[in-house]
């Protein structure tokens, strides 16, 4: 610990302040008995109860979950295959450069560009296959599209830690291609695949911009619901919902880091 300039600590706390105070404000308001306005009217759990029974909220939550699970499932499969295929075949350098660029594209592109690209794609595809009308299907497809990159990146980083020796050794020990995959590669990749899937799932749950553009009237997700409510006029149930989401997010991160630490002493 060295001594730092006097303004470092205050600046840091200012930054942390910026990050946390708004969330704290919402949490406080979620317990506020006053319905409208922001003067304090006493502590209450009412809004949480109402939230838990609100049809619109429950439906949005359900949609969010379904879209998250479906898109994560598809993206995990496609992303893992992509990672394995790219790493284990000796593609020529130009192909590798191109595919690296292509896979990194969704990660660096601003959401809104992804969103309008998807909107355009669906508009065109709708001409031949009406299934691409704005709704759950387009949501799942849209989420999968940017999740694939993340899964691929995570699995690839895990894949490169497996030395070539092991693969040669497995074949030397009479393993078939399938045997190699099932008994040597997959068990070692599994943590990476799970991590990639979790990452993709989180991104899907959190997504707003892309969802906003591609969704239909029957496929509202939680972020979209909150946004719509904010534009109309916020209700305390929304405060309650937001606080629950914030708390859940923090707990999830805590859980992941604890599990991660338990796997560390290897």
């Amino acid at each position: 610990m060295r001594r730092l300039a006097w303004w470092i600590a205050p600046a840091t706390f200012a930054g942390l302040f910026l990050l946390y105070v708004p969330l704290a404000a919402v949490a406080v308001l979620s317990f506020n008995a006053t319905r409208h306005g922001q003067s304090w009217g006493g502590f209450t759990w009412d809004w949480y109860v109402r939230m838990a029974h609100n049809q619109a909220i429950l439906e949005a939550a359900w949609n969010t979950l379904v879209v998250g699970l479906l898109s994560t499932a598809i993206a995990t499969v496609l992303g893992t295959l992509l990672a394995v295929g790219l790493a284990r075949i000796p593609w020529p350098r130009w192909f590798r450069r191109g595919s690296d660029l292509a896979i990194n594209l969704p990660v660096v592109t601003p959401d809104i560009l992804l969103a309008i690209a998807l909107v355009g794609a669906f508009a065109v595809l709708r001409e031949w296959w009406p299934v691409f009308k704005p709704g759950m299907i387009t949501l799942v497809v849209a989420h999968t599209t940017f999740q694939i990159s993340f899964v691929c990146l995570v699995v690839t980083s895990r894949l490169v830690t497996i030395p070539r020796d092991q693969i040669e050794a497995a074949r030397d020990l009479y393993a078939s291609r399938w045997g190699l995959w099932w008994r040597v590669l997959l068990p070692q990749l599994a943590p990476g695949i799970v991590a990639g899937a979790l990452l993709a799932f989180t991104i899907s749950l959190d997504d707003f911009v892309v969802s906003f553009f591609v969704t239909g009237p029957d496929s509202t997700t939680l972020p979209i619901l909150i946004y719509a409510s904010v534009r109309r006029g916020v209700t305390p149930e929304i405060h309650a919902l937001s606080t629950v989401i914030v708390a859940a997010t923090m707990l999830a991160i805590l859980a992941v880091s604890v599990i991660h630490k338990r796997h560390q002493p290897e």
């Binding site: 009479y174 393993a175 040597v184």
Partner: protein
């Protein structure tokens, strides 16, 4: 192993891009022999090993085991197993599962798998490590697991890629003895690759010295050690002293310190002689044959011997190895003897 299966390599060539690593190499290994491919890095020994194992394809040539053309088979189907330099143990499997891997791949019945693994692990003294994971083992233990994993499959040929390089000196000596013992017991053809000549001498029935993609010398450890065939081999095997001489066709040659008597006339008019460090004797009186007066310029203590640097007149210095109890001092003049039987004429 009913019929002895000999490994026959004929005219094998392999290039990587523009670099030609193996040049028309031919070799025959009788069943049950322990041979070592010895040479510096880049000489092609590891490439040769990989070609036999099935991890690479030669540009031309053939490899046959008995009557089977190995090149037509993928590594998966060759009755050949490899012990990797890095051991390449599967980190997510316990030792027992590592060892059993090859047997299970071939769908050997579980009872046989258990029995054979137990036997092999007993022989290699790792039976009590069965439930551990590779990361919990020491280097020496891991090496034994790698060996067991290969041996349990009873291959026709076992390939070992610098298996002792990661071990400390003491462990190396122990494992050298064990390797020999195991090879004798299993009666499997062993092909070992190394750059360490002491290791090669300790374990092999036959040493092949490789350089630049070809076999330079092929012989027993004694032959290679005592009679290096040229400069390169001599230097590689640690024959410390080399000097040019001229011959007039008799068994006496003219060297930088005077006339030297050899056992037989050398095959050339001008060439190089080699004498090992430990073959030059230091005497109190003038020796009968090949004796010279030398001044000791430098002495270095090497633990189990003294390394002396002595000069005869103006000739280039000779390096001599003497016992630790023979104490000489710098500046001392001594008689040195080069016994004719210890002088090696080199081919080039």
């Amino acid at each position: 192993m009913a019929t002895p299966l000999d490994l026959r390599i004929v005219d094998l060539s392999k290039s990587f891009g523009k670099v030609s690593v193996l040049k028309g190499l031919s070799l025959e290994v009788p069943d049950g022999q322990f041979i070592t491919l010895l040479g510096p890095s880049g000489c092609g020994k590891t490439t040769l090993l990989r070609l036999v194992a099935g991890f690479d394809m030669p540009d031309s040539g053939s490899i046959t085991l008995g009557s089977t053309d190995l090149l037509a088979l993928p590594a998966q189907r060759r009755p050949v197993n490899t012990v990797f330099q890095s051991y390449a143990l599967f980190p997510h499997l316990r030792v027992l599962d590592n060892v059993a891997f090859g047997l299970r791949s071939r769908r050997v019945p579980a009872a046989d798998v258990a029995r054979r693994c137990r036997e092999t692990m007993d022989i290699l003294r790792i039976a009590d490590l069965a439930q551990r994971y590779p990361h919990e083992l020491s280097g020496g233990q891991r090496q034994r697991v790698a060996l067991a994993r290969a041996l349990v499959n009873e291959p026709e040929v076992l390939l070992l890629d610098e298996p002792l390089s990661a071990l400390d000196a003491k462990l190396r000596k122990e494992v050298e003895v064990e390797l020999k013992r195991i090879q004798r017991r299993y009666d499997i053809t062993f092909i070992l690759v190394t750059h360490d000549q002491d290791e090669a001498i300790a374990v092999s029935d036959r040493i092949l010295i490789m350089h630049g993609g070809s076999i330079i010398q092929d012989g027993t450890p004694e032959q290679v050690y005592e009679r290096p065939v040229n400069q390169f081999v001599a230097e590689f095997m640690g024959v410390g002293n080399r000097f040019p001489v001229t011959s007039d066709g008799s068994d006496t040659v003219q060297g930088p310190f005077g006339p030297l008597r050899l056992e037989a006339p050398p095959p050339w008019r001008q060439g190089t002689l080699a004498v090992r460090l430990e073959d030059i004797e230091v005497r109190d009186q003038q020796p009968a044959v090949n004796g010279f007066q030398a001044v000791i310029e430098e002495r270095l203590f090497r633990g189990d011997y003294w390394e002396l640097r002595a000069r005869v007149g103006q000739a280039p210095p000779l390096v001599i190895m003497v016992n630790p109890d023979q104490i000489y001092h710098e500046g001392q003049t001594v008689w040195i003897e080069l016994p004719p039987s210890n002088i090696i004429p080199l081919a080039d």
